[in-house]
Symmetry: D2
């Protein structure tokens, strides 16, 4: 299939490579010339603009850092909607606010283009291994079209509802994830301060009502889970500044929906304070450092 | 075995009944004459005081509402330590602060009595069914003595470390549980306000990084988990005022350990506000009502 | 002086009336025909668009509900910048985020227009009485030009620094105001619950280190300050939903500046929860209702 | 007058010296022999126990670090109540929880002793200069007896109501003070990050609705108030660990009264985190360091 792929950063580039491996023809665009050169060597066709790439795709995929980029890549003069043919499906894999996703889908729809939002989880590791989870907001028909292609980049392709619900699912999950990680950090640090063995404490929590992914799979206390970033100096994993971005999206969406998110707002501020202390590049489980001296 | 059992409330009475069923001889004490009469009918021997009960037991078990009661039942003039023989093992199943547990164990130790703390989880349902979890703080030897008897009242008998660690394990787990439940409530209510189907959202969270007991087993959104209190009007389950008590124990222990617990303190206050609104008798998952109109 | 006045809502209309009273010629625009008719009766000239109004003014004043309106009123096809002559001073009295204020000033500057931001405090009462406070972000020269005209609508005309600093001053003050009001509410409700007379407590606080405007001038406990909204059922005053808007601006600006505001974020969420309960139309001191049963 | 004075720490010693200067005969007790020797040199009579001191006083004054000390000094075998004559007035100037104050007053009352609580504000500087504020919980008659003596150690002698209300007034004021100081810190740090001059910002706040003691008298931004601890490296003043203690008393009293204090609980945790970072010995306005890098 001819696929236009726009946005070749830490996530987009390995995703595009997986599509090349699967035998697709890729028309790629990015502002970074180095990554374009690299994709060209792997067989990709370099386009001069999102518009040009979109004009040649039977499917358009975008993977961009934030809403402002998505807006300009789709709606700009040299953007996707200026080049895409009516009837061509498109999917934006960026993590952005649900309202922008819906606004751009509405703009696409006015020219006969069905646009899905499909943010991912799984990080750069998942992008390379092709094991990402895609949370897809799309009509049933569009989901059916996208599913086989997304499955070449990921393992779980989840249909969340109409366009925008992919973003909603992601920010709600990550809102809870951020809260849980701070909660596990407080529980582990408190247990340690009170004198229980942290390995024992984690074992009890993990077989009790406190159990959660942040405790049983990604425990922030070093040594509890050998494969977790906490056991290798909080390197790799999901950066604290990315968690901060997602908590910002969640609280902003909550503000627009006039919905309170009290612990979520506190968690966001705690990650902001962590970033201010210079630790935004560490894995997000390093928030536990705020609870230890 | 001759067992002194002191404290026959909503939890203690069914626990005592399970021990009677298992064939033990019980010497029981409580301030409530009705429950004493009921236990007597089942074959229990009514004692005039904790002292008298303890004098006749080869093992002493206590199950009391709060630290003040534990103090007076053990240390009072007519208390356990006034009657118990040196060498008799004892176990307090109340949920109290770790420091009081340690203080009373130290007092017991001075007269040759080895005292364990073993708070439970599982609620009145678990007490009746004999499926409680016991989190036991005790020497290895004492744990070995207690284990067979506790197993007649519960399913999981977990050794947490020295005396006091049972309480630590419980309050750390419940600190995290309280935070998680508020977190799930915020995520579910936000998702609903933004327009995703709550059943779909819960499914995504439960197979993703937000998964936790409060979401997959005890989801606060009605209808998501059919067996959860949220699906029956928030009746039964674990009362919000009990969660408030446990969060109070956790933040108090944190204060004494000079350890911050930021989200835990906010969760405590949210449960306090819920109690002020008159909802303290509902299941603790009803905290989600603060997020819906 | 010929003044273009755009935005005649609850604040703008009485401000415009004060300028008419002071003898200026006003060229007015609003989407609401009724208020235009009313201003016309008072001698105002109705313009067909912001562009037309601006074309006829020696000074342009705008007073709009939010950043989106300011953007479109200045930058739209029929907007101020399409009609204004180079060299004409302009001042936006709306309360918006500092970045938008700076962006629009930059756009104005590119066509030779010096634009100030001058958000106000004092409410509709102050607008009618001409006793508003203006927090002005402008060059020293522009401030000098604006000062005499602003003084016909307000009592305190404060120069905060370059453009944008008016907005910064307002959101920082109101961030603190929101926090203080919640703090006073907690202190008064706690004192009452513990058994001190609230009048006595307020007196002590007001002569001690807890003293603040929210306690000595605007105390949320009914009867403590006879002129405060709390003494008349929380009617009138500064609406809770307006405080919520300002806290939203503050936390959003903080996010962009990567600056934590922990209590501010919690205060915002508490006002959001108040709004969800249906009390957003009450004076913002009614937040104390969350602390009383 | 013969006065028993028990507790000669950083606050008690200078208070006792002021009473000696005023011509009273003092019977002093403390565990610290050095300070006893010093007071003896100034003419004080050293007693062997609180009991002995109390036996010789026409008035008993105590000034102790925490509730546990107050309990033992009054109720211990060698305590005040073991020596005091019925009818002798007594006043405890310690800052403790209101319930303990009331409990001890009730015990005193049973033997004919009228006990007041009278916690102070003003710090060691105020103790030395004799300019303390006393917040007095006492019957009107007892207040009348105490007032002249307290006035020899302080400037403001405020009658708050019956016994216990002195403590209530102090913890409610300091709850608000802690919240205000964090609020001012967030507002000043945010303003600075957004680009307004901090001196200008403080000026605007201080003449607007955000004004409070923490901003106009004790501003945490260095250089804004020349006499504030922030302008001398956060030395001197009111230590962060003392604020932490008072916030702990407030949240504990709130818990017992089943009263939520949401911002108060967060402020307590922020001071706990500050203490964990090793800054508990700085003035409490140094909380602003958490908001700056």
């Amino acid at each position: 299939m001819n696929i236009a792929f726009i946005g070749l950063g830490n996530m987009g580039a390995p995703m595009a490579r997986n599509l090349l491996k699967a035998g697709h023809t890729l028309h790629v665009f990015d502002l970074n010339q180095d990554v374009l050169a690299e994709l060209a060597q792997l067989g990709g066709h370099v386009s001069a603009s999102p518009k040009n790439a979109a004009a040649q795709g039977e499917l358009v995929i975008t993977m961009l850092p934030a809403a402002a980029h998505v807006r300009s890549v789709y709606l700009g003069e040299e953007g996707v909607l200026a080049g895409i043919r009516a009837g061509t499906p498109a999917v934006d894999c960026s993590t952005i606010d649900p309202q922008t996703a819906r606004d751009i889908a509405a703009a696409a729809s006015r020219q006969g283009v069905d646009l899905a939002d499909a943010p991912v989880s799984g990080g750069t590791g998942g992008a390379q291994a092709g094991t990402l989870t895609f949370m897809v907001g799309a009509s049933a028909q569009l989901f059916g079209q996208l599913q086989p292609v997304l499955a070449q980049m990921g393992r779980n392709i989840v249909h969340c509802g109409e366009v925008g619900t992919g973003q909603i699912a992601k920010i709600c999950n990550n809102l809870l994830l951020g809260i849980s990680m701070v909660g596990v950090s407080e529980a582990m640090a408190l247990g340690n301060a009170l004198g229980i063995d942290t390995q024992v404490l984690a074992g009890i929590i993990n077989s009790s009502t406190g159990r959660c992914w942040s405790s049983d799979t990604y425990n922030p206390w070093p040594g509890v889970v050998e494969t977790a970033p906490s056991s290798r100096g909080y390197s790799g994993g999901f950066g604290a500044d990315l968690m901060l971005k997602d908590l910002g999206l969640a609280t902003e969406a909550a503000k627009q929906a006039r919905q309170p998110v009290i612990l979520g707002a506190v968690a966001q501020q705690l990650y902001q304070a962590m970033s201010l202390r210079g630790d935004g590049g560490l894995d997000f489980s390093a928030i536990i450092k705020a609870y230890r001296n």
